[in-house]
């Protein structure tokens, strides 16, 4: 299993499955932060967009994702101020440049992104910005892997560990997988040759009966990770339970803003009614995210659910399995 949207995209984009021997089956895990965001949380973001004098600043992929009833794109067409940014640096500038508006940054992402949002909160505090907020929907990877392995739904022989999450957290947090579940782990880079090298290293471990954590992505990842990033993340955030689409609530797998910074927390600052969450029928994004089904198992894939008219988030985010499969491999990978 690969557990990183960037790896999923590389695997489909370069047709890696076409090169691998038939004895190796690749399944995609819940590695796309947009895809694993529950509808209830998406609905919160959309409700915030409709609050007057609010600017929603978000990474691009979020804009088209369908929530229970709407999307940020639809909210924008209805008059909400939704703006795409590439960095929280842009969101801070936006808050400075629009003092009469409230800028709410949608905090989506795993451990690679969370430190950048933490930094923005610290910067906002330093600058005494009182119109910058964060809706923290961040999630942590190791707890959800444990949940998937504990469910016993998928029998894995190897795990391709995320590259940039590992650049931040290091390789030690993956050790429990090798130790407690006997599954080999290798941290991979993002080029197609990186993925192939990683698979090679996993096969070596499997064949020799070993299970340990290795780093193939040596140029980007140290075993201890990025201590400064982890420090900043811990300064602003603390672990909390989080709901993962298709998986449910996982203990300590989310991040919430600490009390000292709670004046930046959009959940506390704004009174919204997102309505009851609703999952579209026929959508099996949850099963796909757990690695139990593939896009080809979905009745809606490439028929009712396409990038133009997505039903579930796996089809919207370019690192979602369904979108990657549709864009690059729907004729070759089925």
């Amino acid at each position: 299993m690969e557990f990183c949207g960037g790896h999923t995209a590389t695997i489909f984009r370069y047709g890696i499955r076409q090169i691998l021997p038939s004895t190796i089956e690749m399944v995609s895990g819940p590695g796309c932060p947009i895809c694993v965001t529950a509808n209830a949380d998406l609905d919160k973001a959309i409700a915030l967009a409709h609050v007057s004098d609010v600017i929603i600043a978000t990474f691009g992929d979020m804009i088209k994702v369908p929530g229970s009833r709407s999307s940020l794109q639809q909210a924008k067409a209805d008059g909400a101020d939704v703006r795409m940014v590439y960095s929280t640096m842009d969101a801070i500038k936006m808050a400075e440049g629009n003092p009469t508006k409230s800028v709410i940054f949608l905090g989506i992402g795993f451990e690679t992104t969370a430190p950048t949002i933490a930094t923005s909160v610290i910067q906002a505090e330093d600058k005494r910005l009182r119109n910058y907020y964060v809706l923290s929907l961040h999630k942590l990877c190791p707890p959800v892997i444990r949940a998937i392995l504990d469910s016993g739904e998928v029998k894995l022989h190897g795990l391709i560990c995320p590259g940039h999450v590992s650049a931040i957290i290091g390789s030690h947090p993956w050790e429990f997988i090798a130790r407690d579940y006997g599954i080999p782990c290798v941290v991979s880079g993002f080029e197609p040759l990186d993925i192939l090298q990683c698979v090679d290293m996993l096969v070596d471990q499997i064949e020799s009966g070993e299970s340990k954590v290795e780093i193939a992505y040596r140029r980007g990842v140290r075993p201890e990770g990025n201590q400064q990033a982890l420090k900043l993340m811990a300064q602003v955030f603390e672990p909390c339970p989080a709901t993962w689409r298709g998986i449910g609530e996982v203990t300590d797998s989310g991040l919430k803003i600490r009390k000292e910074y709670q004046h930046f927390d959009a959940e506390l600052a704004f009174d919204i009614d997102p309505g009851l969450p609703y999952e579209p029928s026929g959508c099996i994004c949850g099963d796909i995210l757990r690695g139990v089904k593939t896009p080809f198992d979905c009745q809606l894939f490439a028929k009712a659910c396409t990038p133009q008219y997505p039903v579930g988030p796996c089809m919207v985010s370019s690192e979602g399995s369904c979108a990657a499969c549709y864009h690059y491999g729907r004729d070759f990978e089925g």
Binding site: Y86, M89, T113, T116, A167, V221
Partner: protein, 76 residues
């Protein structure tokens, strides 16, 4: 944005830097990598340097990527 191309730090001003990738110059934040120096290669993610790369490994990556660009792509 799992950027895989190493970015070269050209200049630093406080906690921000100008980084060059393939001829593009971008302002990036060094909040997560305060140890970065001019001449270092860094990994970028959403405008932040998230790791300082091993010099040798970074240059090897760039050599490989240059080869890939030469193969068919870059005639510019």
């Amino acid at each position: 944005m799992c950027l895989a191309i190493p970015a070269l730090i050209k200049s630093i001003e406080g906690k921000e830097a100008e980084a060059e990738i393939g001829g593009i110059i971008r302002r990036v934040s060094l909040w997560l990598t305060p140890e970065a120096e001019v001449g270092d290669y860094v990994l970028l993610h959403t405008g932040y340097a998230i790791n300082v790369l091993d010099q040798e490994e970074a240059e090897e990556t760039l050599r490989l990527l240059e080869e890939i660009a030469e193969m068919g792509g870059d005639k510019g």
